[in-house]
Symmetry: C2
Subunit: 460 residues, 2 copies
């Protein structure tokens, strides 16, 4: 079973090996694009559904906007078109004819959405508008990195319009909190909330917030961004409303997005040298039952009990699978460990006789993770284990993050620190500082954490 | 409230008026494309989720395949490219450069999927593959008809591969049954299951089955198709497997799809001159609470009770909305009738005093649909009503369909019948017959119903 390169040997190869062996993806015939196979897509759907629930609980509705945008729309907001032009996929022919105006496949939907908002919004009574889209976008990109960098990627993009900056800013920070909470409570992924530097803002935004998560190789992954668009897009698309005071004003808009990149990050955070380790709340298969027998007679009895247990767990709402393949238990153990299933249920002849089972936790390897328990009350026992496993994965990720953040108060400390992991330093929000970090240290300013004290006048 | 044209006056205008007044859509800046607003999209999501559950219950998994397909892929299956070429949107430039090979936006995914299946399938052990995709596709189309005909449309496409034709044919018929059952049990839409004529088959299929539903103007709507692709695509994409008998064979593949067109059809079937009438199992809002009061004192008491009722219904899993706008009850009644909310809950001062409410059914207009009932046990009462309303909408649609199908045994009877509605006639499966129907009577052969006796030799 030496199909997976150890993490410590080559992290990128480890990541690729894990995704391949867990049968999550395939490369597509178009460079930069990937096929997401059922196990990978089900994981994405589970994460999506939990995040979607959080959007709805904060008053948002989903909608659908077209895939194709007139080229001229992108040109309306000057810094927006500058940011996205080099990445566009352009449709020049349709229905057998050359188009008068080329269309682009959406790289993001601000322009077409704010165009609609300009038609929909007339009065303060029409505000706020709180809409989210689940879709895929295309940004020309040839250096594929699975889920982290692909030409077409799936994501959600929220787009809201408000009467005042106070309200739109509250939305921007609320959605950052939603991303952070989704990470912690659904995916066992801790992250650092903060504000992006001027230089790293979204094209067209007056402020960009991000949550940054630390992956297993100590690199940072932007796990969601929330943009304060100020009135920039409202001016470009002429989104005005008649306010209570009877004067016409431009709206304040926001956008916020999280892509399948976060799924890649989650895998990089929790996975180990045996493969995936999936948090139970998002796992496609939460518990797998492995029957253990030698004779045909044993097999009949064990399979009967295993199937009964499967039905009980299923009825209790657990995503359970009974592995009835003609393979050895050892093969099955490895296979499901690689796929990150949180709990394994072993049923053998002695278990049948004693009305018991053995449980194995994916997060604790070997005997330490083994639990012998009666079949009675098994569903509740396993549900309790799910919460424990979630908490244990979260604790491990938090401890790893904490152990790999150093504080620096001088350039020399910063220089030494970035060799070891993340560094918390009192930087100025100045493009010259961002440039110096990239040139001299080959690192980026990820964000200014909310709980960090503002930088003094030191001109780093 | 005369915003909606009567159905009897102009059915197409009625449909447009209903969708506009229910705030379901907007036109997009690209011709042929539409924006689906939250009320419309939530309805689509509800239908999608129920159908998705049925796919999963029959053993299918979702996956994701790329939006962009190399032009050369479409050319591999001769009749497939002939069918889709005139409708393609073509990407010729990406990342600022002209592409060596143009890419098309998927008009459907058979080619790219069967290309992947060829890599994945080696042995009979890899079969069957049972995959479904939820996505949007683009087919160049300028004559927009909301949800029924749009350039970009949302749908699902299932793609399966099997070892034998017996198995693939069982899949083709099973999925037609799934569509039929989804119509009847989730959407209160009855339909006729049958086989398409040779002439109307999917480009590349050896057989196409369909479910056809009768809309309010007695026109037919294809509410789902299921294709037997035989070995055509397997040969074109070289999908072979080593069978148990140690010989290499081509797979048998299927595809099946249902688009948001079915949502349009459902609206055309149930709607009336007051607007939408939505079956409760798919309605975005299942019950709306309208508070009724005159004085501020009454308002305080009524709103307190209304909000308590809202929380009770919500806790019971009912999608409920309390309409607290500053508008008259009459305005609100009309508004929610137009949006098709199945049950209205009226709460006035007398209801507060008596711990009662008045319920109004959307499917039975006026006093006949009014029910006075205690607040105690209200959630169960309303859930029971949902089942009754579903059954009543289904009965009405079935009766309408039955009343508008005539039998014909001669060309003269057929000619007279098509003026009145659908006609059941013993046609031959011959392209010449299909052509004669179109030319002489301007009608199409929708399908050969499964329960119809095979045609005799009569050469109509």
């Amino acid at each position: 079973m030496a199909k997976i390169t150890p993490r410590s040997e080559d992290f990128n190869q480890w990541y690729l090996d894990v995704l391949r062996e867990a049968d999550m993806f395939d490369y597509a015939p178009v460079r930069g694009c990937i096929v997401v196979k059922p196990y990978g897509w089900t994981l994405y759907e589970n994460m999506r559904d939990l995040l979607d629930r959080r959007f709805k609980d904060t008053g948002h509705s989903n909608a659908a906007f077209p895939l194709l945008i007139p080229m001229s729309f992108l040109k309306r907001e000057a810094s927006h078109v500058e940011g996205f032009s080099p990445e566009l996929a352009v449709v020049t022919h349709g229905g057998g004819e050359e188009l008068v105006e080329p269309l682009v496949i959406r790289p993001t939907s601000e322009t077409i959405i704010e165009h609609s908002y300009a038609q929909w919004i007339k009065s303060y009574r029409d505000l706020p508008i709180l809409i989210n889209l689940w879709n895929s976008v295309v940004r020309w990109e040839m250096r594929t990195k699975l889920f982290l960098r692909t030409m077409e990627f799936y994501w959600q993009e929220g787009h809201t319009a408000h009467a005042t900056h106070e309200e739109s800013w509250a939305e921007v920070t609320q959605m950052l909190d939603v991303y952070h909470t989704h990470g912690v409570e659904d995916c066992a992924v801790p992250s650092v909330k903060g504000r992006k530097s001027r230089n790293e803002r979204f094209a067209g935004a007056i402020n960009t917030l991000s949550v940054e998560a630390m992956m297993g190789d100590k690199r940072a992954l932007q796990a969601g961004t929330s943009h304060d668009l100020g009135q920039n897009f409202a001016r470009a698309f002429d989104i005005k409303f008649l306010d209570r005071d009877n004067t016409e004003k431009h709206c304040w808009t926001t956008s916020w997005g999280l892509s399948w990149r976060f799924m890649g990050g989650m895998i990089m955070i929790h996975g180990d040298d045996q493969g995936l380790r999936l948090p139970p709340r998002i796992a496609p298969i939460q518990a797998v039952i492995v029957p253990i027998y030698k004779s045909d007679d044993e097999k009949a009895k064990v399979m009967e009990a295993a199937d009964r247990i499967r039905l009980t767990l299923k009825a209790a709402g657990i995503k359970v699978k009974l592995d009835d393949r003609d393979e050895t238990p050892g093969f099955k153990f490895n296979d499901w460990e690689m796929r990150g299933v949180p709990v394994r249920v072993e049923v053998g002849p002695r278990d049948v006789a004693n009305n018991s089972v053995a449980l194995a936790r994916r997060d604790i390897p070997g005997k330490a993770g083994k639990i012998f328990t009666p079949q009675e009350g098994l569903a509740d026992k396993i549900k309790g284990l799910f919460d424990e496993i979630h908490a244990s994965l979260l604790r491990q990720a938090e401890a790893f993050q904490k152990a790999n953040i150093r504080e620096a108060n001088t350039w020399e400390e910063l220089k030494a620190g970035v060799q070891e992991g993340w560094v918390l330093a009192p930087l100025l929000d100045d493009p010259a500082v961002d440039a110096k970090l990239k040139e001299e240290l080959q690192v980026t300013n990820r964000n200014f954490p909310f709980d960090q004290a503002p930088a003094s006048g030191t001109a780093w």
